[in-house]
Amino acid sequence: METKKAITSSLEAKERIEKTFAVTAEKHDSLDIRLPIGLITGIYGLILIMLGITDPHASTVLNININLIWGAVMCIFAALFLIAHKLSVNKKT
């Protein structure tokens, strides 16, 4: 009796899964995540560069303008992501 009940519950679960998959037959594109990543890191990079230029001695411990350096690093990073996004858009069209 016990095992019989177990069989039906497993098969019942299988049927329900099939139902969900049947509804989502078509696969579709989604937002390309490289775009928002490129944008936000680019904006942050520019803000840091601006802060680095206006106040080069903000960091008091070490004599490094870390805002300027890291802002530049983030801008390069952002550019790579935006280029990758652009390339994938071109490929599709």
Partner: protein, 545 residues
């Protein structure tokens, strides 16, 4: 609650607030743009199985890399030294690779929409119920507990009011997941991944430069703090109070396999990809990222120890969690500090989002659809997912306020949650690799494993038996696993096995053939990358022996 005004650690300016504000705008914006893609329940709960592998891989790792973990692990490194890297290397990578190579084909191939659903397919309804209900409760409570802990940290760092932190982060998380479901959650985890690295990576560089390089650092910290294994001969010879067998069996085997291979919060990320091979590649990819996380947490913890020796510790000193914030405060100027705070905020919010999406999926598919409303339309389940998101967030907020009132109960609850994880891995291991395991074998094994963990904690092997509570956790996990493993086998031998028809695609030996995988070039096979990952892991362990 202390009512006195505490001077915040960081002094932040308008530029920093602008950086934080931009982040909030972006996460809500991403949710808004994803809304139109959420047409079915599968879109909402499993991203319609369309997420690219590299994105799912980053999300797989980030779902686990919460702000509390980063701060806590940096603090632990200050306290215990490089031994903390065990949590990242031996304590994660073997389990992630095992999940990828051996378990993912059955998880993904079974078409289960959640981890508990695999249990109903392989075992029976009661086994699923135990896992689904305990997971749903634990996930929501954990999300609330970490929300409170995080609000406390923001109060210390920035002087933010607890209520503001809790409500602001909850409302933003609520907006973006109600819009975009799992996809929102995954996208924000990926965003968090890059923000964490970009926001915290300058820290070890600046501190190392200040201190005079790696060798200068080694001279300033105690000898035993820089070795992974050579100090673990006995429990008394290292700061963590644990010997190598405890590390390997408890942390390396049971706890990490229990977490990485069965916790739906992380496995859900691999479920969102397009085929079996992609789902296998997700944890493999994440294992490579994972190896480098100690640069952010362990190295910074050691640097904090060298720069601020004796400043952190038990009350009345500052708590260990402050190791990373002290470094930020010392080296980051206005701007970079905003970025650092955004990184912490992002990792906290995405952790919460991950909890809430896992909760809504398990609630909708494994509790609501399974027991409450069996035959509704797909559109109804999608609607239910959105409702569950709201309810999940409200329950988290409620838990955060309870945590605020009863601090000690919360620590206790975290220990109780640990009871459920360790035995579960035995249930999956036997379910996937031994055809003879029966439905009731799985159920009674799991229940007795959970009970034995509780009995050991309260009576047989309480913390005071061990040199440290961490050693206690490792050893109890191992014994609970063994109890579940043994009972499952014994009960299985006396009960009726499942038919081949029922086990198809669920057990080793009846694997569904993956046509795409056969034609793959060797360098595209997940197994090849997994082996490479193991080699790098071994080299790392030898380097810091």
């Amino acid at each position: 609650m202390p009512e006195k005004v505490i001077q915040p650690l960081f002094h932040i300016s308008t530029a920093d607030y602008i950086i934080i504000g931009i982040y909030f705008l972006f996460v809500i914006g991403i949710g808004y743009f994803l809304k139109k893609y959420m047409k079915t329940s599968l879109d909402f709960f499993l991203s319609g199985r369309t997420i690219p592998t590299w994105v799912a891989g980053l999300a797989f790792l980030s779902a686990n890399l919460g702000a509390l973990e980063i701060l806590g692990m940096a603090g632990s490194s200050y306290k215990y030294g490089i031994l903390v890297a065990h949590f990242y290397w031996i304590g994660a990578i073997p389990a992630m690779l095992f999940l990828a190579v051996f378990m993912m084909p059955f998880y993904y191939g079974s078409k289960a929409r959640s981890v508990p659903e695999y249990l109903v397919l392989r075992y029976n309804e009661p086994t699923r119920a135990v896992n689904a209900i305990s997971f749903a409760i634990m996930t929501v409570l954990m999300s609330g507990i970490s929300m409170y802990a995080m609000a406390l940290i923001f109060q210390i760092l920035l002087g933010w009011d607890l209520n503001t932190s809790i409500w602001l982060s909850s409302i933003i998380v609520l907006i973006y997941i109600t819009f975009g479901g799992l996809t929102s959650s995954i996208y924000n985890e990926v965003l968090q991944f890059f923000l964490i690295w970009l926001g915290l990576l300058p820290l070890p560089f600046l501190a190392l430069k200040d201190i005079g390089g790696w060798n200068a650092l080694l001279k300033r910290i105690p000898e035993g703090f820089t070795h992974l294994w050579s100090v673990t001969g006995t429990a008394n010879s290292n700061p963590m109070g644990i010997e190598y067998l405890g590390v390997i069996l408890g942390l390396g085997f049971v706890l990490s396999f229990g977490y990485w291979c069965t916790d739906f919060l992380v496995v859900q990320r691999a479920f969102s990809t397009k085929n079996i091979r992609a789902s296998q590649q997700v944890p493999v990819l994440a294992s490579f990222y994972k190896m480098f996380v100690p640069i952010l947490v362990v190295l910074t913890g050691l640097l904090a120890l060298a720069l601020f020796p004796g400043q952190l510790g038990d009350y009345p000193k500052q708590p260990y969690d402050m190791a990373l914030p002290l470094l930020i405060n010392k080296y980051y100027p206005v701007g970079l500090i905003g970025l650092g705070i955004t990184a912490l905020l992002a990792s906290f919010m995405s952790g919460m989002a991950g909890n809430v999406t896992a909760f809504t999926t398990v609630w909708t598919y494994d509790i609501y659809e399974a027991y409450i409303n069996k035959n509704a339309t797909d559109a109804h389940y999608l609607w239910m997912g959105r409702i569950a998101t709201v309810v999940g967030v409200i329950l988290s907020i409620g838990t955060a306020y309870i945590a605020m009132q009863y601090r000690s109960i919360m620590d206790f609850m975290q220990t109780i949650f640990g009871f459920f994880n360790a035995p579960l891995f035995a249930t999956f291991l036997l379910g996937m690799f031994w055809k003879r395991t029966t439905a009731w074998g799985g159920f009674w094994g799991l229940v007795s494993g959970i009970c034995s963990a509780a009995i050991m904690f309260f009576w047989l092997l309480p913390d005071k038996v061990f040199t440290s509570s961490m050693a206690g956790n490792f050893w109890r996990a191992w014994w609970a696993w063994l109890v579940c493993f043994t009972i499952t086998i014994v009960v299985s031998l006396f009960t009726k096995p499942k038919t081949i028809e029922e086990l198809k695609g669920l057990v080793y030996g009846y694997r569904v053939t993956d046509e795409d995988a056969k034609a793959l070039a060797w360098y595209k096979k997940p197994e090849v990358w997994a082996i490479l990952s193991v080699i790098v892991l071994i080299i790392l362990n030898i380097m810091f022996w």
